[in-house]
Symmetry: C2
Subunit: 497 residues, 2 copies
């Protein structure tokens, strides 16, 4: 049995190495690759993906998992080895259903679609993106056919990002927050935030974000921050974490940096024992996103945090912020204000952007919305949910990278992350009663350490709901703390400031 | 037969994709990776190398090659398909002899050795590098045992970089140039080159090198230039070429940029039909190096080139070069002056640095020199060949990256490249009689185009000697044009300037 476990681990380590190599290729594609590199990169990614898939769905992995059942049952449920066998079995059973050629084609098509999208967005030309979108959607529909589902063909796609979650469960959570958020947005006071959208010198931003990063609990020499069009985070090991941000969009890059750092801290905090195994990740994107939102919002828009950091920020951007006092700054970064762009949205409107995408994605996958009709459906949804007019596709349906890369089913995890972040935050506040005082002193290590020890280090050993239950005492995804947090935040804004 | 050829090409394309993915991982390791990433990167590289090796040495590739013999014989010798079958057969027969685990271990050990070397060099501590060096050497000795050789156990290592070349042939060429170069160095006039070693602002260097690169014949969006400690060039496809340079060592980065651009133009010029095949490369490192030296030296230190570029250079670095006239600049960049560091060496002393390494490497591989005794042997060699005293290991045996990465047998290709560059240059001058006038006008496209069409585009279709013969009319590696070029160059220097 020991030999079987060793063999399983060796095989999984090799597959993990392939997946991390793919992550390096993708990071390079987005951060450094010359445009001429796209076709060859798509082939390389498809080849690595094909090999990784072939090796993982191999019969022998199934035999090993079967022979390891007695060992699994003899061990504690959340031990590293029992978890490895259990989680690998679910992954294997899911991946086995997918033909290798379909997997490779999805990867190739995603890599090629990305480049098409960059050009289409730059010229706000949805028509030029449509064939790539159709192709990705068609592949996803073939993918869905590999699975059974109870409530919606969207569920197998959702499951790739949010394992064990049903579309109907998401719809229920969103059914609660949709009207509540719409009401909050309608009633929110207007706040002047124009100063956030000035030009902030990139050098100053890079230096300031670098200083922030040093306080978040990363080991030295284990991460980097680079500029990209679309901020993201990836990691190649727990000691090689790559975050990206942007410098062109006012001061948005600051919260992008904190957001991606939340993802980065998750990757950095995974237990070393789980390295080079399928457990070296987050249980779901919702949980991963709960942490990016924690650092971006619960920390990064809080008064205690800025009581420490606002003076250094003002000193860095004297010209832009010299006349703005802390209260005006906090009001601006905590306001609710309908807008066109998801990644620039405030905390209150953000989930409404997601609900639109969730609804459109379901219709696309079910076949009740043709991709050609997306721009129109997008405009209608934006008018209904946020009361804004979409001027062009670059500010509408072309704004996000996800669909170009075949990431259908991904969006809802953002809003789930918002909701979950507040459930976990309550546990954090119980555990660290003087957290506000620590943040005022610029001290974030106890927070980072608690989250690492109680959440990040677990990796994928538990399911998303088991993980949430371990932290909060209940497996339920409960939107109430999230809504209460937003209500309190908006009530604290100066009326008509 | 067509189906066999198609199958062979598919398999080779997949292996090529793996090798390019490894190249991306290596580029990232040297250019962008945080130090914490090394252990995981070594595993990823070893896994990809193991898979690529396994897939290549597979029996089925051998069967395909055997079945394709009649097709090969029915085609022109230098047709794409005949060349593919012939070159792949030689590669396959060679790789088949190497156990996959040895190959993977060589890659892992190379990736780990690289990090050890960086730290050892920074603290000039040879002892801390010794275990990694011993390990790499021991693996190379096991590698040598996989092959038969006629003249020296060094030949199988040399063959990895310079196919078909015998150690004794290199020794013969070096036997001719060794005394000739030593004499040239002894008799060369002293020239003041101190102005080249001032600090040149990195921003100005980056901008100027960027302008130079735009004139060399690269398609837009097909390359990039990044700073590294140790300049190098790699490519992931002909339209994704990565060059690196450095900004810390006076104006050396200018010639590093031109040098790496020569490698880059080679990769960029390979015929599109050869992409994703084993033919997408240079026939040997000597030929590849002949082109880096062509652009660095034959172009980049020539009077016609600088008649165009010196004014813009002066304008960029007014403070550093404002008082230096063109003649003084040309004398400095063409001088012969013994020094400690290979990569900073002038054209005349450069090959003497190589001869030292070639002699030491042979003794290491043959076992007549223990790695522990290298620093001493290095100092003795530098005193004999160049008449200089080595103050410490950082300026001696630790200066080069190669041995840390297992690159034993690589060095002689640099000096062979110097020699070959002049043989090819004679052909270039015949073909483009007004080349000097073009360079004076800043016009390099005809030169780049001729080299692309007559050399780079061939890829690995011909052997190194066949390639040289096609360009020069003779397969012999002849050091005379190289020595004549240096004699003329040094004779033109102002005596006692």
């Amino acid at each position: 049995m020991d030999a079987d476990l060793r063999t399983l681990k060796e095989r999984l380590a090799e597959i993990f190495d392939l997946s991390r190599a793919m992550a390096v290729l993708s990071w390079d594609q987005k951060v450094t690759m010359p445009t001429g590199g796209h076709p060859a990169r798509a082939e390389s990614l498809a080849t690595l993906g094909r090999i990784a898939h072939e090796r993982f769905v191999d019969d022998e992995i199934g035999f090993l998992l079967e022979r390891l059942r007695p060992l699994e049952e003899s061990l504690e449920y959340d031990s590293d080895d029992a978890s490895l066998i259990r989680v690998t079995r679910r992954d294997w059973e899911k991946q086995r259903r997918v033909p290798t050629e379909l997997r490779a084609e999805m990867i190739r098509s995603a890599a090629l679609g990305n480049q098409v999208w960059i050009e289409a967005r730059a010229s706000s030309d949805f028509a030029s993106f449509l064939p790539a979108l159709r192709r990705n959607l068609e592949l996803k529909q073939r993918y869905v056919e590999c699975f059974e589902w109870a409530d919606s063909p969207y569920t197998p796609l959702l499951d790739d990002f949010e394992p064990y979650m049903q579309t109907s469960e998401v719809a229920e959570v969103f059914g609660t927050i949709r009207p509540a958020l719409a009401e909050l947005v309608r009633e929110a006071p207007e706040v002047d935030a124009s100063f956030l959208h000035q030009a902030f010198p990139p050098d100053g931003q890079a230096a300031f974000y670098g200083r922030l990063l040093e306080t978040l609990g990363f080991d030295e020499g284990s991460y980097r921050l680079d500029p990209t069009v679309h901020p993201f985070c990836t990691s190649f090991s727990r000691r090689d974490v790559r975050m990206t941000t942007r410098f062109e969009s006012g001061l948005d890059g600051l919260w992008s940096t904190l957001h991606e750092s939340g993802h980065g801290l998750y990757a950095h905090g995974i237990a070393p024992e789980l390295e080079r195994t399928p457990l070296a990740g987050a249980p779901s994107l919702g949980l991963n996103e709960s942490q990016s939102r924690t650092w971006e919002n619960l920390v990064g828009r809080s008064r205690p945090f800025w009581l420490h950091w606002y003076e250094p920020l003002q000193a860095t951007f004297r010209e832009q912020l010299g006349d703005i006092d802390l209260d005006a700054f906090l009001a601006a970064v905590n306001r609710a204000e309908p807008g066109l762009i998801r990644v620039e949205a405030d905390e209150t409107t953000y989930s409404l952007h997601i609900i639109l995408r969730f609804e459109l994605e379901q219709r696309l996958v079910e076949g009740s919305l043709d991709p050609a009709d997306l721009p129109e459906a997008w405009s209608a949804g934006m008018a209904e949910l946020l009361g804004v007019d979409v001027p062009d596709d670059a500010h509408g349906v072309l704004q996000d990278i996800h669909w170009s890369q075949g990431g259908i089913g991904y969006f809802p995890t953002y809003a789930l992350g918002n909701v979950i972040s507040l459930q976990i935050w309550a546990a954090v506040q119980d555990a660290i009663p003087d957290l506000d005082a620590q943040m005022e002193a610029g001290e974030l290590h106890e927070l980072a350490g608690w989250l690492r020890d109680n959440l990040y280090s677990l990796g994928r050993k538990l399911t998303p709901k088991e993980t949430i239950e371990r932290l909060t005492g209940s497996p339920t995804i409960d939107p109430e703390p999230y809504l209460a947090y937003l209500r309190d935040k908006l009530a604290a804004l100066p009326a008509g400031a």
